[in-house]
């Protein structure tokens, strides 16, 4: 009862804001917050180096909309590629681990250790191995996303009630059928929790990946802003990351609502 316990709780919460309406409400709330910050900055005369006015930030985005749009598309694409591969691999290896104990006990610890390594330290290695392509960034996203999916898939597979397995088996169900009809559906809610965690991690991975010498992407814009001490540009990039992050988060929530319509483990 560990990662699982954490998930059990995250579950109802996730369902609550997976839908569209709360998302809309959230957008309204964000607009309200931006307005409040704008007024505060003006009222207290806060220097732009400390905090620029939100309107200045939005204006910066609108001045070169193409640059920010391209950056979002690029970063979004990297995240999507790596995330898709990471999710599929995570589920696949999670299923394999649940069946093959030797594999699980030998490889899993290496996976755990791999997650303690800061990717940013290996910029040069990533470029050497995967070049300066979008693939290199996707690999980093993959590296960060597959692990939570593996863990939760494995836990979900093992959360299956053994009595149900035996029941199905007594009706002559094959392993394959048990997997399809019982194990996998049971694991799905767990997997979705992991996907939600992984989406934020994956986006961070894409941003860091762009620090290894790239021409477009939100990570590039962030770096440029940082070294030119251009607070407005930094905030504009953060704003774009937020939009991407919320979109990913919302999309996974929606997918979950569609796929796990029966309401997950707590029902």
């Amino acid at each position: 009862m560990t990662v699982q316990a954490n998930m059990a709780g995250a579950q109802p919460m996730a369902r609550r804001f997976g839908a569209v309406l709360p998302l809309l409400k959230g957008l309204v709330a964000i607009a309200a917050v931006l307005l409040a910050v704008e007024l505060l900055v003006i009222a207290f005369g806060i220097r732009p180096y400390v905090l620029p006015r939100p309107s200045a930030v939005i204006e910066a985005v609108l001045r070169t909309p193409g640059a920010y749009r391209d950056a979002m598309i690029r970063t979004g694409l990297e995240t999507l590629m790596g995330f898709g591969a990471g999710a599929l691999f995570g589920i696949w290896i999670g299923v394999a681990f649940s069946r093959l104990r030797f594999l699980r006990e030998t490889i899993f610890p290496i996976f755990i250790v791999s997650q303690t390594i800061p990717v940013i330290a290996f910029g040069a290695l990533v470029v050497m191995w995967f070049g300066n392509t979008i693939l290199a960034k996707a690999v980093i996203v993959f590296y960060l996303t597959f692990f939570p999916v593996t863990v939760n898939c494995l836990l979900g597979m093992r959360a299956v009630d053994q009595k149900q397995v035996q029941l199905l088996r007594s009706f002559g169900a094959s392993d394959r059928e048990i997997m399809r009809k019982l194990r996998f559906p049971t694991a799905l809610p767990h997997i979705f929790v992991a996907l939600r965690i992984a989406s934020a991690l994956g986006l961070a991975g894409a941003v860091v990946g762009e620090w290894f010498g790239d021409t477009t992407g939100l990570g590039v814009l962030l770096l440029q802003g940082m070294y030119a001490e251009n607070m407005v540009a930094i905030w504009a990039s953060i704003l774009c990351s937020a939009v991407l992050g919320i979109a990913f988060f919302g999309a996974i929530g929606l997918a979950e609502k569609r796929i796990v319509f029966w309401g997950g483990e707590s029902s």
Partner: protein, 253 residues
């Protein structure tokens, strides 16, 4: 009787060690057979030898980074639990805090790093803030899930016996939520160290990230790897300590 990959049995531990050793053996062989230069892949033996020769530098850096990570971890944990508590005790807050926290969390933490470095400087405080930001959301979600598990009928029962709010909190809510809070804390350990190191690499006066940054500049890749090994060991150690505390504190489960 669920399998817990995070706290393996003796048997599994042995297999894990076997897997690690096998990996090291392949690595060492690859580095030696192909005679790889250290800027591509240094041999494991070289890296381990460097542990000893650079023990003073690496030890000091590890302590520096662990200190930052721990401070940010505790701060972030406190913020997360406090927010969850606020949401539990004042349900009206939930509609505000939960979406706001989700929105902040959907921005990758690294995106805040330029800002936090410019606001808090290159010293220890910027690392602590970054770690706190990274940790607080996980803690908030975990703690909120824990508090949500409290049965409101029990709360009403205690109240009918005249228990104060504080008493209900201390005797019922916290013990019920504790397992989830602690598992959240355990999940946040590794992340806190990585965030501290990443932030150090962008600007710092010390720590493992700083050692890595310096080593890259003087093209000392054995040092880079040695620092990464130390970071990895420190993460696992931190993780183990928190897991141990968790098992001690939730002994009744």
């Amino acid at each position: 009787m669920t399998y817990d990959p995070m706290s393996p049995s003796q048997h599994a531990l042995a297999r894990g060690v076997f897997g690690g050793l096998a990996l090291f053996a392949i690595w060492e062989l690859a580095a030696r057979l192909f005679d790889l230069p250290s800027y591509i892949l240094p041999a494991v033996s070289e890296i381990i030898a460097r542990f000893w020769t650079a023990r003073a530098v690496l030890g000091e850096a590890a302590a520096y980074t662990l200190g930052e990570a721990l401070a940010g971890y505790l701060l972030g944990g406190a913020i997360g639990v406090a927010l969850a508590l606020a949401v539990t005790l004042v349900p009206q807050l939930r509609k505000v805090i939960v979406p706001a926290a989700t929105a902040v969390n959907s921005v990758p933490v690294v995106a805040f790093s330029p800002l936090i470095l410019l606001w808090f400087g290159m010293g220890v405080s910027s690392k602590i803030v970054m770690v706190a930001v990274a940790v607080s959301f996980t803690m908030f979600v975990s703690a909120l899930a824990g508090f949500d598990r409290v049965d409101e009928r029990s709360v009403n029962l205690m109240r009918s016996f005249g228990a104060s709010r504080a008493a209900i909190l201390w005797k019922l809510r916290l013990p019920t939520a504790l397992p989830l809070i602690l598992s959240g804390m355990r999940l946040s350990t590794v992340r806190s160290l990585i965030v501290a190191i990443v932030t150090e690499m962008l600007g710092a006066y010390g720590g493992l990230g700083w050692v890595i940054y310096q080593a890259v500049i003087v093209i000392d890749f054995v040092q880079v790897w040695a620092a990464i090994f130390v970071a990895s060991i420190a993460s696992l150690g931190f993780f183990a300590v928190v897991s141990f505390l968790e098992r001690r504190l939730v002994f009744w489960r």
